[in-house]
């Protein structure tokens, strides 16, 4: 077996020795970002996670299109309706394109609960790019094409991939809209803390001395207050009559208020380490200005670390928002985020009757894990020269 492999590889090896540089040499001439990519590529979980996150963000960005229904549209007849079963074979075993049976609601005369049964007489095909409820894409233009759905209006028969909630709203549509807020709040929050952290951490690390001491003390003060109670106290101070958008930014600011201290520590640490490096000294001796040394020489060499730390900070933001919204201190009802959706799950009755109200947990956990894996992969890749 080993001999065979060697034999088949042999001609290439000879050729590469003569003409083009082989794998070995490529490593020496490859630019930094290429080395990073090769290193990152080896982390299979990180690659898979990038895929998952890409899907999530696609859903978040195009949630109006991906969601089959309006997330606020409710129907009494679909109260706590279970997830629709998508079938490709009917009762007689004949196969069709995917379809759902019509669902009939009955009431249990004793418990007065809804019972949903399938009517095998009526079939609705599941189609892609169907025309359904009208929506405004990004609030800009009107559209009515949805990624998938049934060709009939929701009143007649709905398709509920993940069931319906207490008011008969489609969980899947709500999750799609929730993805937009929950996933972006991490990004925006991290961006805010990055700006603060890089500026203050950079100043602290580059100038050192008194400035450094003062900034470090401030960071210590902020960090000496436990984060969850502080978040709770600050969000409780947000007026309850604020519109969604303002509340959204309020929450992000609160989250980044603590986040930046951590970011500043990372940046400062890198700055302190790099200040002593030979290439910085060389640049200084060559007469580069301070701004040029910082932007042209120092920033690129710790950019990858920053990106890795950012990726690892996003899940914390997402979790914080989810937790705050869940206990009712974050975003509130007309807004849809994964945390707001989870409030439903804190209702023992809903939980017992409709375990699908727990599905946001699945999305939060996979998103958080994916970010952690990508962050891990990036952190390893950030230093491709290390063996």
């Amino acid at each position: 077996m080993a001999d065979l492999e060697r034999a088949s590889n042999a001609p290439e090896e000879i050729e590469s020795d003569v003409a083009i540089p082989g794998e070995e040499e490529k490593i020496y001439v490859a630019p930094y970002w290429k080395l990073m990519w090769w290193r990152f590529r080896k982390h299979k979980m990180a690659l898979l996670s990038v895929g998952i996150l890409a899907v999530y963000y696609f859903v978040g960005i195009f949630c109006e299109f991906v969601a089959p229904y309006n997330p606020e549209q409710y129907f009494v007849k679909y109260k706590l309706a279970p997830p629709s079963k998508i079938r490709t074979r009917d009762v007689e075993g004949k196969s069709f394109q995917p379809f759902v049976y019509a669902v009939i609601r009955e009431r249990d005369p004793e418990t007065r609960r809804n019972i949903y049964t399938e009517d095998t007489e009526a079939r609705y095909p599941v189609q892609f790019f169907v025309h359904g409820t009208e929506y405004e894409m990004w609030g800009l233009f009107k559209m009515d094409v949805h990624l998938f759905g049934l060709p009939v209006p929701q009143e007649e028969q709905g398709i509920f991939l993940l069931g319906a909630d207490r008011l008969g709203r489609d969980m899947f549509s709500r999750l799609c809209y929730g993805a937009r807020i929950s996933l972006s709040i991490g990004m925006v929050g991290v961006f805010l803390s990055l700006t603060l952290g890089v500026v203050l951490g950079g100043v602290s690390g580059y100038y050192g001395g008194k400035v450094d001491t003062i900034i470090q003390r401030i960071i210590e003060f902020i960090r000496s207050i436990p984060s969850i109670p502080l978040w709770m106290a600050l969000s409780a101070a947000l007026p309850s009559d604020w519109p969604i958008l303002r509340l959204y930014f309020g929450i992000t600011v609160i989250l980044s208020l603590i986040g930046w201290t951590w970011m500043a520590r990372v940046v400062r640490g890198r700055f302190l380490a790099l200040r002593e490096e030979d290439f910085v000294m060389a640049a200084r001796l060559a007469g580069s200005s301070q701004i040029r040394i910082i932007l042209r020489h120092m920033v690129p060499s710790f950019l990858s670390y920053i990106i890795a730390s950012l990726t690892l900070a996003i899940p914390n933001m997402i979790l914080a928002e989810t937790g705050l919204s869940f206990i009712g201190l974050g975003l509130r009802a007309p807004a849809i985020s994964w945390g707001v959706l989870l409030q439903e799950a804190n209702n023992v009755r809903s939980l017992a009757l409709a375990p699908w109200v727990l599905t946001p947990v699945l999305f939060v956990v996979t998103a958080v894990l994916a970010f952690n894996f990508v962050g891990d992969g990036l952190r390893d890749a950030a230093d491709p020269y290390a063996r």
């Binding site: 003060f221 436990p226 109670p229 101070a237 201190l329 989870l342 947990v361 958080v368």
Partner: protein, 329 residues
């Protein structure tokens, strides 16, 4: 060493001062003060407001006066008289309300930490000594998921499982009969029957992290020459691992003990909220929601003070373990 500790304690005083100011500002942020809310509440239920009592309260907390006077009255009350203020929602002194809760919370968190150590240390050691074995991989996957899932989500899922599979309602720390009863042996037994679910849930999240730390640290230690030497001298593998490298690998546990102090009393607020435990977290949440600011402020202050003291404790511990820190510091 003594000088180092003294220096740290001296440095702690301004930190505590700033922390108390921040706590005070934070609880002042919501609009309106508690007396107006209190008066409104009283008149809502048709109670007449005793003008004299109101004025007495106003005088006591310096309401209506400049904010630094209010701060001074609040702090001096706490430091000199042990008066944490009045909870307007419960109509009781804050002091009475918080101590029982803090006791329960600490008991719960302590048990959870101990449980998580008892699980995490052996598992971490096994994972490190059997690196890349199937069990190691399984443990890694489980601890990754455990670390990525916040406690309150685990609590939700476990609550659902317990309800549908075991037909068990897991909320609360006591049966309804014992909720308001004074402490007795029966109440303790009742609590022990309920406490294991929150303990398991809190332990899961912290165990996951601890397993990874133990494993990573021990892996570093196992490659060091002294381990090889001990092995060459013919020490049995079990004794060899447990006696030397494990002890070094566990250092981070002891240096973070101090850090856990605050989390001991803030005790997994979200988990407690889901399981409706009678701990500090849900009470602080309610106090914040109803703008019961002396109660909320006391919690915030206590928690922050605990973190500051906890940091001190872990710094001292670290300095004790590692002389380089205390001599360089």
């Amino acid at each position: 060493m003594l000088g180092y500790i003294l220096r740290r304690i001296l440095f702690m005083i301004p930190t505590l001062f700033v922390v108390s100011v921040i706590s005070f500002i934070v609880i002042q942020l919501p609009p309106g003060d508690f007396l107006t809310t209190y008066a409104a509440q009283l008149s809502e239920i048709g109670d007449t407001i005793d003008q004299q009592a109101l004025e007495a309260l106003e005088e006591r907390y310096g309401l209506g006066q400049p904010i630094y006077v209010q701060y001074y009255k609040w702090m001096s009350g706490i430091i000199l008289r042990g008066d944490w203020g009045q909870s307007m929602e419960w109509h009781k002194p804050v002091k009475e309300l918080i101590w029982e809760r803090i006791g329960l919370t600490m008991a719960l968190s302590l048990v959870a930490i101990l449980v998580s150590w008892f699980v995490a240390i052996p598992v971490g050691v096994y994972s490190a000594t059997h690196q890349y074995s199937i069990l190691d991989y399984a443990m890694s996957v489980i601890s990754f998921i455990g670390a990525g899932t916040p406690g309150f989500m685990i609590a939700l899922v476990i609550m659902w499982l317990a309800m549908t599979r075991l037909n068990l309602n897991v909320g609360g720390l006591f049966s309804p009969d014992y909720l308001l009863a004074p402490w007795s042996l029966d109440k303790l037994i009742d609590m022990l029957k309920h406490i294991w679910i929150p303990v398991v849930i809190i332990a899961i999240s912290s165990t996951a992290g601890s397993i990874r730390t133990t494993r990573a640290n021990l892996l570093d230690e196992l490659n060091k020459p002294y381990v090889e030497t001990a092995r060459a001298k013919g020490l049995k593998e079990g004794k060899l691992v447990w006696k030397y490298p494990v002890r070094v690998a566990l250092n981070p546990f002891f240096s973070t003990v101090g850090w856990s102090l605050a989390s001991l009393i803030s005790g997994q607020t979200l988990v407690a909220y889901v399981l409706s435990l009678q701990t500090t977290g849900p009470m602080m949440l309610r106090a914040l929601m109803s703008q019961d600011m002396y109660l909320a402020g006391s919690f915030l202050l206590l928690l922050s003070a605990m973190t500051v003291i906890g940091t001190l404790v872990s710094d001292v511990l670290l300095a004790w373990v590692d002389p380089r820190i205390r001599l360089g510091g």
